[in-house]
């Protein structure tokens, strides 16, 4: 599904080039649950942004579902983000004045799914995260855990092949974090690919593979037997 080869990303910070990724090579198969770990500033978030088409690399190659990112226009990238990718952010990124329904509907506004089918899809997505009772509640009035579940529903509503989660438990208490990880885990169980960026070991251990990044390079890339029994120790 994802093939990355010698991937590089350089920024210019006050005219000084900063190398966030220094040549990263790996691939992710369909249905995998991969955690990308690393200390702050290691380049893990940069990697996730490139993998999720939010940013472009400055070197190397990246193929998503067999197609190189270099061959795609910004409009095509936007279409892939809409159809094939779901996003869960650490800070939820919900529009607080809109209801849960309206927030979850946002990706559908940019899709080719006809308006008549939207209500069903939104309700299904919200039900799958257990928030059907909050469907018409303003997002700003929800707890942190509920907000992140709404964000997951929003990520799911277009039925994407892959979900990118950037520190999804970073702003949550342990119980809410656990709920969110269980939802991601169940999505993976149903065949969706999940790529998670975290600096928390317990959260990373929900995955079946952990890629450790340090100073913009892969330090280790190991498959693990999913350590999902440690749920109670999350955080």
């Amino acid at each position: 599904m994802i093939e990355v080869s010698d991937l590089k990303k350089e920024y210019l910070e006050e005219e000084t080039p900063t190398r966030a990724l220094r040549g990263v090579t790996f691939s992710i198969e369909k249905g995998e649950f991969v955690s990308v770990m690393g200390p702050s500033g290691s380049g893990k978030s940069t990697l996730l942004h490139i993998l999720s088409f939010l940013d472009r690399p400055t070197g190397g190659s990246y193929k998503f579902q067999g197609k190189s990112i270099d061959e795609m226009t910004d409009k095509e990238l936007a279409q892939v983000r809409n159809k094939d990718m779901g996003f869960v952010f650490q800070s939820f990124n919900l529009l607080s004045r809109l209801t849960v329904y309206d927030n979850v509907e946002i990706p559908l506004l940019y899709s080719d799914i006809p308006p008549s089918k939207r209500a069903t899809l939104v309700e299904e997505a919200v039900r799958s995260v257990g928030l059907e009772e909050k469907l018409h509640t303003e997002a700003g009035k929800l707890s942190g855990g509920q907000k992140q579940r709404v964000a997951i529903a929003r990520a799911l509503v277009t039925d994407p092949n892959i979900i990118f989660a950037d520190e999804p438990t970073g702003n949550l208490d342990s119980e809410s974090g656990l709920q969110v990880m269980e939802i991601l885990e169940s999505l993976n169980d149903k065949g969706r690919t999940v790529v998670l960026v975290t600096h928390e070991t317990q959260t990373a251990e929900f995955a079946n593979r952990i890629i450790r990044i340090k100073d913009g390079m892969i330090e280790s890339d190991k498959e693990i037997i999913a350590n999902r029994h440690h749920r109670g120790n999350l955080k």
Binding site: D55, A78, R81, N93, D102, L109, Y110
Partner: protein, 415 residues
């Protein structure tokens, strides 16, 4: 993104910040209302002036002595203060013999102080023949107009305007048969004109004094020529034919053989309407142009607020892009917001403008007895809506473009 969805998203954004939206619209509301009011007042004034001119009768022709001016707007010799003495009684007599002409009425005018008791006022007076009252549709409200016999006998009689009557006699004294003095000559008031505002050709009928032309020429001005003649064409003849006959008659009377050496000007009602129409249209446009400055200020206000809005909503833009919005989707959303703001502002401005125009009409016609015409030109409404829509596009495009081109990841990271 479907336009319907973009529209819904935009209206939702605007309603979430109601107070801001209303304040942002205010500039456009004021601008459009100003344009509407000024265009409407301009139209009403134009209609009023045209009505006044038309009320004199479409068969009226004005003869002004002096070499014809080159263009419509260059003043004639008489208007430039040059004394032209070519229009005389023999010309009037020749014109009255012409079958296509019903009547010819000469006129002289001047300014003088009128005194009654302790009251006085400097007024424009006109010396006219008795048939002038008929030709100019001058209605006498109290008393009577003076007669041909009064003119022929050079009787010291005077007809005054209603405003002048009030100034001299107050509201309770009947002016008829009272003696007033003008240039130390006594006149007996025989009539007061009916209220009717400004008379034809811009003469303030309210404060006018009309005396027999014989008195005016001999005793007040000491002249034997006329400053103007009003000619009433016979209805059976075409006005242009009558005009050509006047031209022919005056040339013959003045012994002119070269048409380029005419020593008189002929103005028909159509000429006067055309000149007045051009002047009032230019004035209306000029006023509308001034009012449109406030539209530009309002538009810049919208651009400013939209730029602030784009900055405030950077994370929202980032999120929308992350979940699939293209640059055009974002641009469309913000552009719809600014166009909606200006368009709704435009509609409110038109409504307020119409209300104020209605109020002006009510006040002028109720309290000032001015025959003000309620004019609310549809062109002003269309212009108002078009300008507000275009202002939204023009002033919204830059902020919308800024929003559309934001990099999703930079936008998501924005604090």
């Amino acid at each position: 993104m479907l336009f319907r969805d973009a529209f819904k998203t935009s209206t939702r954004s605007l309603t979430h910040g109601k107070m801001r939206s209303i304040l942002t619209m205010l500039g456009i509301v004021i601008g459009i209302a100003s344009v509407i009011i000024l265009m409407s007042i301009g139209q009403s004034a134009q209609d009023l002036i045209i009505n006044q001119v038309q009320s004199v009768g479409s068969n009226l022709i004005v003869v002004i002595p002096g070499t014809p001016s080159n263009g419509k707007f260059s003043p004639s010799a008489a208007e430039q203060g040059i004394v032209v003495t070519t229009l005389r009684q023999k010309d009037i007599d020749a014109l009255e013999r012409e079958p296509s002409i019903d009547a010819a009425a000469p006129l002289v005018s001047g300014q003088a102080e009128i005194v009654y008791g302790n009251n006085n006022k400097i007024v424009s007076y006109q010396g006219v023949t008795a048939n002038m009252f008929v030709i100019r549709n001058l209605t006498v409200g109290k008393g009577f107009a003076f007669t041909k016999a009064d003119v022929d006998s050079a009787n010291h009689v005077i007809v005054i305007g209603p405003g002048l009557a009030t100034t001299l006699f107050g509201p309770y004294v009947n002016p008829i048969d009272k003696i007033i003095r003008m240039k130390n000559i006594s006149f007996r008031v025989v009539g007061v004109l009916a209220k009717g505002g400004t008379g034809a050709f811009g003469v303030d009928q309210g404060n006018i004094a009309i005396i027999p032309i014989t008195i005016a020429q001999k005793q007040l001005l000491g002249i034997s020529y006329f400053s103007t003649a009003l000619v009433q064409a016979n209805q059976k003849y075409d006005i242009t034919f009558a005009e050509s006959r006047i031209r022919f008659t005056l040339r013959q009377s003045h012994g002119i053989t070269d048409p380029n050496k005419d020593d008189f000007n002929i103005l028909t009602q159509a000429d006067i309407l055309s000149i007045l129409g051009t002047i009032t249209s230019v004035l209306t446009l000029f006023l509308a142009a001034i009012a449109s400055i406030s539209l530009i200020v309002g538009g810049i206000g919208i651009m400013n607020i939209m730029l602030v809005s784009v900055t405030e909503r950077t994370r929202e833009i980032g999120l929308r892009k992350a979940v699939g919005a293209t640059n055009n989707d974002i641009l469309q959303q913000f552009l719809i917001e600014s166009v909606l703001l200006t368009f709704i502002g435009g509609i409110i401005g038109i409504a307020i403008g119409a209300g104020i125009v209605g109020l002006i009409y009510f006040v002028l016609s109720t309290f000032f007895s001015i025959g003000w015409v309620f004019a609310f030109p549809i062109s002003a409404v269309i212009l108002g809506l078009a300008v507000s829509g275009i202002a939204g596009m023009a002033f919204g495009i830059y902020p919308a473009y800024q929003a559309g081109k934001k990099n999703p990841i930079d936008a998501l990271r924005y604090e």
